[in-house]
Amino acid sequence: MSDLNEPTPDSTTDPSPQGRATGAFGLPRLNIADRYSKAPLWVRMPIVLIGISFAFYLPFLNILPFAYIRTDLTSGGSDWGGVLFLIVIYMIVAIGLNVVIGLAGLLDLGYIGFYAIGAYSVALFGSPSSPVTEMIADKFGLSEGWAVPFVACVPIAIALALASGVLLGAPTLRLRGDYLAIVTMGFGEIIRILSRNVTSVTNGSAGIIGVPSPPEPSENFFSAIETAHWYWLALSVLILLIFLTRRLEDSRVGRAWLAIREDEDAAAVMGVNAFKFKLWAFAIGAALGATAGLLFASKQAYVEPTGFALNLSFLFVAMVVIGGSGNMVGAMLGAFLITYLPERFREFQDWRPFAFGVAMVAVMVLRPQGLIPSRRRAREFADRKNEAEEAAADA
């Protein structure tokens, strides 16, 4: 799935510099990731573009044998566009959580809370039948059926997520890792319980219908049937977010996060304001989670509390870690596997959670660093390149 923005790094690449020439079975190693990151811009650009085009084309994928990846080959299968949409939503979740866990090293077990905040913000403000819009309409004498338009709901959702990220983080980020884990877990639960119990605001377990869709370019563009359109929307958002997150990673912010993750005390003594950067990681993660939740709710056109159970938080963490914590591509791969495989093998529905559990243990025990360990090597090469350029300039 990493074909969205760059080719899949060869996960069999040995990170040690020794075994570079030959790989398994004495075959020459491809070192795709290394070659890619060393390649000049005019090589990388087309690759990225082809990858993106392919990702946009996926809903129509019909060429055998590739079409076997579709999930709707049997009558009981799930709608392919819908599955693609969900995969991309969870990829957004994964890159957001990767900022918090993989980069800043903060164990957040309540990420579902931010996802729920995003979903509920768009529902509460955007649905004409939500208690919140009804109250606002009443108070200001607005017409029946008035609601905040979707486009305005997006900044509201993001602002609420940022605020809740800061509100949760400010008092708790001073706690040590394991304590942070349980406090965030509590936060995730509290959000769900609030959405269930505060009936006067959220309609409780009845949920809210009429969650708005994005403005439609044509009639029924974003309808329940046209899942491919939703997928394209989510994919575009994902690409934008990947681009922005990369920028953070490749700046002093990303370095500060890594330093904090590696050794917080040493980082502080080296002038890193650890608390500030941790809070930012939390807030940015929250905003990304909320974006995913908001897209999800908008496509469902309906939100209700049971969609935000705590197990999803664990699932999210599993995505990040199985793919390779600290590595955005790895996290997205994890999201892909965890979303796609169960949908593809629906025939074995009842066995899915069991198989998932076994796979989780097996992957972790056999490959604790995750499927695609991290971008360290790519970084190393980027560094080398910049350095070579500067050395040439100095001479």
């Binding site: 877990m185 639960e189 197990n311 870690v321 959670p353 069991f354 243990v361 972790m364």
Partner: protein, 321 residues
Amino acid sequence: MDFNALIDGLGGHTLDGLTRGSIYALVALGYTMVYGVLRLINFAHSEVFMVGTWTVLGVYTVLGADSESAMPMVIFATLTALVAAALASASVALAVERIAYRPLRKKNAPPLIFLITAIGCSLVLVEIFGHVLKVFFGAPFGRAPVNVPSPIQTHTLLTIGDVRITNVQVFIILGAVLMMVALDLFVNRSRLGRGVRAVAQDPDTAALMGVNQDRVIMLVFILGGAMAGVAGLLFTINFDITKFDIGFIIGIKAFTAAVLGGIGNLRGALVGGLLLGIVEVYASAVFSSNWADVTAFIVLVLVLMFRPTGLLGESLGKARA
């Protein structure tokens, strides 16, 4: 909000809270001991508890014990269930440690990896009872809740004011406290217990002094597992029910209790468990049972805010920086 409801039934609510809290505390011990020695949240511990409840059901079924059974049978069935649950839970805990954690320890994996592995183990165990066993044996396995009728009949032992104390409540609270006292004595007095404390304080020095770290770790999983098994029995006696995913919510409560008291601290688990049980029952009375969990978490956050290492501080051996 209804404070009158709380004040009126204060005695009864407190007793309910202590009963519930005792079960939390027993499960919390497992989290706390493993954390104390390995600095690791063993998220699979909740399922160790779950296995205990199913074992109890199995023992009752095999012995044919039910609410009609005569007194000697009741005692025999309960004691057998106690031993069997403790053994089964301890074995599962040990299996998790051997299959999942030990290989990771050898690779010196970061804590996050242990966590995900634990979640995976949890899922496997849950699914074994929720699906795999059902495929082979059918009911009662599967995803539906199962009745576990305790042969012990509830009756009022004595009444103080308008507080009625039942035999079940006394059995649970006493049972839990006795188990914990025994464990505390074991860890603080025995030779093996000294090894546990030594590893908790300083694994490297302990290893230099000839303490076999792997043995200590196994011991800790066995002890914690056995406590969870006993908790499984007490739980079924109180609630007469089990389910394939029953461990999840109890596990979270117990872990909260452990953190509340100061994770790594045996007595902290007791204090945290009882306090959490009481807070939940009080909150149910004042607000409604819907708010019990929220209140419990808020109390936890408040405690951590002012005492970042829990009420009694962390220490299986002594406090660490």
